[in-house]
């Protein structure tokens, strides 16, 4: 029996509708570009070491006309005062012999090791330590996107699981989850963040992901529960029950694919939301640790630089984030229209 061409399922139809939506396609390309950059950064081919100080402190962007007159404090190599000849006020230096041996071995080492040459201007300017803003931007997008995406996955997975079980089984299971939902939404977001951050103690990207994930599931929960309530009495589910499909199978094999469009939209909304929350978390002090850079940490660093006329780090981080968030939100809209077209007309 020749198997004819596998006909387009709902997903392929949705994909075709998406391709026709110009704005959707443009935003899709932008998002893919960002993910490309992140993958390259993850692999280490792009912006491998952002901590290297290549520029002068607050090196202005090369293309900026005001570059010349911005006066940077001249980097004067300081001479290291000799640490030995100081007056010991009659005391004994326990390491006297070591220092003596050292000076014998390296007689001509006076003063500081020569500083590597630093560039006066950088493509997108430099920050206070002279790190290149462009490399920081790339590494920052890797962290921010990673945090946003993984946290969104955690929140959506939790929300879907709770929503499915609550919506499908109902009665006391539903009441229990609603109680949990009630408690989590009642507590002010701020205090919840502090509480969870305090519990998780160690600072790190994982902490941020857990904070966002554990506070973000409520939105998805409410929607998925509503969808399950609607679908569980639909005829195709009753029919599946009639032929002997178990509860689990009905819940995850039958209903889940049919509500997946809601989950997908919520996932992308969460990604956008969490990228923006990471900035606020950095402001509150729960941001990324010191050896990691993210848009949030860059924005917070640049917070005081704007006054000093050093606007490029703020502009770069803000622009990068704005473009991604806009593209992602437009993609979500296009996705939502493509997945359930009846909303369109």
């Amino acid at each position: 029996m020749t198997t004819t061409m596998r006909s387009p399922g709902l997903w392929t139809l949705a994909w075709r509708r998406l391709c026709r939506d110009r704005v959707g396609m443009v935003s899709l390309w932008v998002v893919l570009f960002y993910f490309g950059v992140v993958l390259l950064a993850l692999g280490g081919w792009l912006a491998p070491d952002w901590t290297r100080e290549v520029g002068v402190n607050y090196a202005p962007p090369t293309w900026w006309m005001g570059a010349q007159e911005s006066e940077n404090a001249p980097v004067v190599p300081t001479t290291a005062p000799d640490n030995v000849a100081a007056d010991l006020y009659g005391l004994q230096d326990p390491l006297a012999s070591e220092f003596a041996a050292m000076h014998a071995a390296y007689p001509n080492e006076v003063g500081l090791p020569p500083e590597p040459p630093r560039m006066q201007t950088l493509p997108l300017g430099g920050d206070k330590w002279g790190h290149d803003v462009l490399t920081k931007l790339v590494k920052g997008s890797q962290t921010s996107l990673l945090v946003g995406f993984v946290a969104a996955l955690v929140a959506t997975a939790l929300g879907t699981l709770f929503g499915a079980v609550a919506g499908y089984f109902g009665r006391w299971v539903d009441d229990a989850f609603n109680w949990l939902y009630g408690v989590f939404t009642a507590i002010p977001y701020l205090l919840l963040v502090f509480a969870i951050a305090a519990v998780l103690q160690q600072r790190g990207v994982v902490t941020i992901i857990l904070i966002l994930g554990l506070t973000g599931w409520t939105g998805v929960f409410r929607l998925v529960r509503a969808e399950y309530l609607k679908h569980k009495s639909r005829e195709y589910v009753l029919a599946a029950g009639a032929i002997g499909a178990s509860n689990m199978r009905r819940m995850f094999v039958h209903i889940l694919p049919n509500v997946s469009h809601v989950i997908l939209v919520q996932l992308s909304l969460n990604v956008v939301g969490f990228i923006k929350s990471e900035v606020i978390l950095s402001f509150l002090g729960f941001g990324v640790p010191v050896d990691v850079v993210s848009w949030g940490s860059m924005l917070n660093e640049a917070q005081n630089e704007l006054i000093l006329g050093k606007w490029w780090q703020l502009a770069a981080a803000d622009l990068a984030m704005a473009v991604l968030v806009t593209a992602f939100s437009m993609l979500t809209d296009a996705l939502r229209d493509a997945l359930d077209p009846k909303l369109k007309q």
Partner: protein, 593 residues
């Protein structure tokens, strides 16, 4: 200037297409012309997808502007004015004042958050400029005119507080508020029960006389046309197949499609062995134009009536149906009860008795029909038997096991032997499964067939048996028509070789022509596999055709029970009599056959 032959509305070579973004232009109406004379009722008849509703809506310009493409030459002349080219202001002056319309779903057509009175007054204000007091009085008068009890009290009621019939009456009151010259009724009674349908039809006919207005009545049910219309226009796939006076068309249908439509309805008297299907007629005439997949008309590929039968078998009387003693009883249902708890007051709740006790026996190879209006508990009874609802009393013995008891260890085996086919073809199949996955699931669950090859063969054989092409295995439900989807649902039930099949309104949602094909399929399967059916429906003609025994239910009670023919020919209970009386043109035998 008024047209010479004093016709109120004339539609000339109307051509309408819909252009969805990215998809080719889909032509719904491709060249329709007909006239609506003064003070007369014209019926526009056709199956779903025939373009009748689109034509009606285009008259008042109610089609979604962004995607509608109307051919420039089309003309809709109303008192010399072409409505298609008139400005918004001109159109608004006509809408509701000179032409008004009522729709199929009264519940959703009324604004849920405004009272009946407000919605009535709005039209009066707009067109007649009545003061608040005058408009109020006129509104009460209108409600009284359309037969709403205590009109004054009903003015303040909200739509959801009225019954289906009353809501339609309010719609009619709103429509005739400004005494229009033409009333367009787009399938006004399809969603209503047959008894209420009768009242609405009488009301429209009475109003038409009293207000000297014309009515353009759109329906897919030919039996209605016979009773209320003066002229009829038969449409199919956007074309007018035939038009003329009712008595001419009914008695001497020129067009083959018209003849087919007239014959497909199961007759109320006598029971043909098999129903006539479109094919039987179409094979005589040329093939109908534009019959694509998914358009109402069914292309029955590969279905041949049972081998060896003569071309018009439907005429021979079929052996009397009914319970003949030697049949062995498969299912013995005794006094089933089902109550629902509805929360009421602080903590308490009151009980709604959906099924107050039903007792019947189902013999192997026979069919028990359950008929009743919506809300009579017939569907609940079916779902209880299927175990999808827990019963509150009674028993259903099936080979010694009581289906109603909580499921014991060998439930999976028991579950296999009783299956159900639902009403809505679009909802009973999982949209994200291919047909192959839909059929494979029951086979896997019940371990039928050792390996994939054997299961594949089984599936292909079943598809052929229900009259579907083999390659439909790899297609998704949204690519099939309503009738084809019901066939897939039936195939799914057959995979587990059930002994009892519950058909819950399985054909109600299908077009008449398609209905006939599915009913024939069910009968063939019953003969071949000796399955017994529990056939639930509100359509008396269909139930009579299918069942040996009949239960008539009303408000959860079985009011009458017995062999099909005796119940239909000599109804004892008043409710059954009322039901039978409400069936349109019950008197004449199907003309022109």
């Amino acid at each position: 200037m008024n047209t010479p032959n004093s016709s109120l509305l004339s539609i000339r070579h109307l051509q309408i297409g819909f252009k969805l973004q990215g998809e080719p232009l889909f032509s719904a109406v491709s060249g329709v012309s007909f006239e609506v004379p003064q003070r007369s009722t014209v019926a526009l008849v056709g199956e779903s997808g025939s373009g009748k509703s689109v034509t009606a809506l285009s008259i008042l310009g109610l089609l979604p502007k962004t995607i509608t493409r109307i051919d420039p030459q089309s003309e809709i002349l109303w008192q010399g004015q072409n409505l298609l080219h008139s400005t918004q202001a001109q159109l608004r002056a006509v809408r509701g004042k000179e032409i008004s319309i009522i729709f199929q779903e009264p519940m959703s057509s009324l604004n849920p958050v405004f009272t009946v009175g407000d919605q009535l007054i709005e039209g009066l204000h707009l067109h007649l400029g009545l003061s608040q007091r005058q408009a109020n009085a006129r509104a009460v008068e209108l409600l009284h005119e359309v037969g709403i009890p205590e009109p004054l009290r009903r003015m303040g009621a909200y739509p959801h507080q009225l019954s289906g019939g009353q809501q339609q009456r309010v719609m009619i009151a709103m429509a005739i508020g400004c005494e229009p010259k033409l009333l367009i009724a787009d399938e006004p009674t399809t969603a209503l029960d047959v008894t209420i349908q009768r009242q609405i039809l009488d009301l429209i006919a009475d109003l038409q006389q009293r207000l000297h207005m014309s009515v353009l009545f759109i329906t897919h049910d030919l039996t209605l046309v016979g009773e209320i219309a003066d002229q009829v226009v038969v449409m199919k796939s956007g074309l007018v197949r035939e038009a003329g006076l009712v008595k001419d068309v009914f008695h001497a249908p020129q067009d083959a499609y018209t003849r087919a439509l007239l014959a497909c309805r199961p007759p109320l008297h006598g029971r043909p062995h098999r129903l006539r299907v479109i094919d039987d007629f179409m094979s005589e005439g040329q093939n109908p134009v534009g019959a694509g997949v998914g358009v109402g008309v069914e292309v029955g590929v590969g279905v041949r009536p049972h081998a060896g039968s003569d071309p018009y078998p439907y005429l021979h009387p079929y052996p009397m149906r009914g319970l003949t003693p030697p049949d062995d009883i498969l299912l013995d249902v005794r006094d089933i009860k089902k109550d629902f708890r509805i929360p009421h007051g602080l903590w308490g709740h009151r009980l709604f008795h959906a099924v107050k006790g039903a007792t019947f026996q189902l013999a192997r190879g026979k069919t028990v029909g359950i008929v009743g209006e919506s809300g009579s508990g017939k569907t609940t009874l079916g779902l209880v038997l299927m175990g999808l609802h827990a019963a509150n009393g009674g028993s259903a013995l099936f080979e010694g096991h009581d289906l109603l008891k909580p499921l014991s260890s060998d439930t999976l085996a028991m579950k296999r032997r009783i299956q159900i086919v639902f009403q809505n073809p679009y909802a009973s199949l999982n949209p994200r499964f291919t047909v192959e996955q839909i059929l494979m699931e029951p086979l896997m669950l019940h371990g039928i067939g050792e390996n994939a090859a054997e299961r594949g063969a089984l599936m292909r054989q079943l598809l052929l048996r229900v009259g579907l092409p083999v390659d439909s295995l790899y297609r998704y439900p949204h690519e099939f028509s309503g009738g084809q989807r019901q066939r897939i649902a039936i195939a799914r039930c057959l995979t587990v070789k059930p002994e009892i099949l519950i058909c819950d309104e399985s054909v109600s949602a299908l077009d008449v022509s398609v209905q006939a094909q599915v009913l024939n399929l069910l009968k063939d399967l019953q003969d071949e596999f000796h399955m017994s059916y529990i056939f639930i429906s509100h359509d008396l003609a269909v139930v009579r055709y299918m069942s040996d025994q009949i239960l008539v239910m009303s408000e959860g009670e079985v009011v009458e029970q017995g062999d099909a023919d005796t119940v239909f020919d000599h109804p004892q209970h008043a409710y059954t009599q009322k039901l039978l009386a409400a069936i349109p043109n019950r008197g004449q035998t199907p003309p022109g056959v």
